[in-house]
Amino acid sequence: MTAVYTGLALIMFAFTYPSRAVGLLAPGIDRLPKSALDYLQLVGPAILSALAAVNVMIAVEDGHSVFTVGLPWLSVLACIAFVAWRRNLFIGLAAAVLIAIVGRGLGLG
């Protein structure tokens, strides 16, 4: 059993722990400029949606990025709809997987 990515986990820890600890260990961090706090608040939705969009819309063929349309779009849209409706990610993921299985069973992609 390998541990190739354990080093990556430690790097990610080094970049995550400070933001968790700073407010508990150094009170006053909440006095950062309002615009900085606002920016930090918006990073989550932006980077997660970028990851989802690139993962589902971009394929790399012969070293070139190409725009793709396929069944995963439907799965992701279903997940978005369920999370927006039920506020439950697990149900959304279940719907996404179900659509992928059924769609492929029907030969859709």
Binding site: L8, Y39, V43, L89, A96
Partner: protein, 273 residues
């Protein structure tokens, strides 16, 4: 003492507040095991993480969205130092959580605060701040119960189970597992959107991510989306105080709930005797 364990002043007893905390945490525990299982499975099948890697991620990083995102970074060939920076940005919201909880930890030892920081997640923030507000004071047992029993243990066991089972799956696409990553990222993003600013940040992040991916590379596309999206969101005027980041312990706990957490009852409603 009024009925339901509430004293006449409307402040619940420690026992009833802890019972409420445990009850509120049941959904999170179930969700943690399930979501953790999916993460472990995806990390194994999509990025080739070993069970040791998955365990290390869950112990050292212990942040669902960042752990999921790392699968995509690794699959896209993003260099590790850049993954570190992106992870730092993605988890930067924890600055707001720790700033909001800081005053409640006043007087606790440095060591306790340092360890408490490691289990500070979206869920633990929401649960513990609600718990402290209910009680009107800090409760160390409540914080550790939320952090370890409700959040960490179910997540760790779920991720480990997924990683161990992932080895046995030979055709992830046939089982629809290949769509989980993108769906999880999109779902997590939706769970963070509570205002027009966040919606604009998410949409611009996605559009910029795809555009830069087509012109340059997916790696740079993800990075560009993560940087440009929030800047675009800031251009949207804040319609209310809900659209602005809180400061000086003004953070309402449900403001930061992610999609795998429950919805908290507003403190004023739950504290009514």
């Amino acid at each position: 003492m009024a009925d339901g364990g509430l004293p006449a002043a409307g402040v619940p007893t420690v026992r009833s507040a802890r019972r409420r905390l445990a009850f509120d945490g049941i959904g999170i525990m179930v969700s943690g095991v399930g979501f953790g299982f999916v993460y472990g499975l995806t990390a194994r099948t999509d990025a080739g993480f070993s069970p040791i890697d998955v365990m290390a991620m869950s112990v050292f990083v212990f942040a669902g969205a960042a752990q999921f995102a790392a699968i995509g970074y690794v699959a896209a060939g993003v260099p590790w130092p850049v993954i570190g920076i992106l992870t730092g940005l993605l988890n930067a919201r924890h600055v707001l959580y720790s700033a909001a909880l800081g005053p409640w930890f006043r007087g606790r030892s440095f060591g306790e605060r340092a360890v408490a920081a490691q289990v500070l997640t979206d869920e633990v923030f929401a649960l513990s701040l609600s718990h402290f507000r209910r009680l009107g004071r800090f409760d160390a047992f409540g914080y550790w119960f939320a952090g370890i029993v409700i959040d960490f243990i179910p997540w760790f066991l779920g991720t480990l189970s997924g990683a161990l089972l992932g080895d046995a799956i030979v055709d992830p696409e046939r089982l629809g597992l290949d769509v989980i990553f993108a769906a999880a990222m999109a779902g997590l993003a939706v769970g963070l959107i509570t205002s027009r600013r966040e919606l604009v940040a998410a949409v611009v992040g996605a559009v910029v991510g795809v555009a830069v991916s087509l012109v340059v590379s997916p790696t740079l596309g993800i990075i560009a989306g993560g940087f440009v999206g929030p800047a675009a969101g800031l251009l949207v005027p804040a319609a209310s105080t809900q659209d602005r980041a809180p400061s000086r312990n003004e953070a309402p706990p449900d403001r930061y709930l992610m999609s795998r957490t429950h919805k908290e009852t507003p403190p004023e409603a739950e504290e009514a005797p």
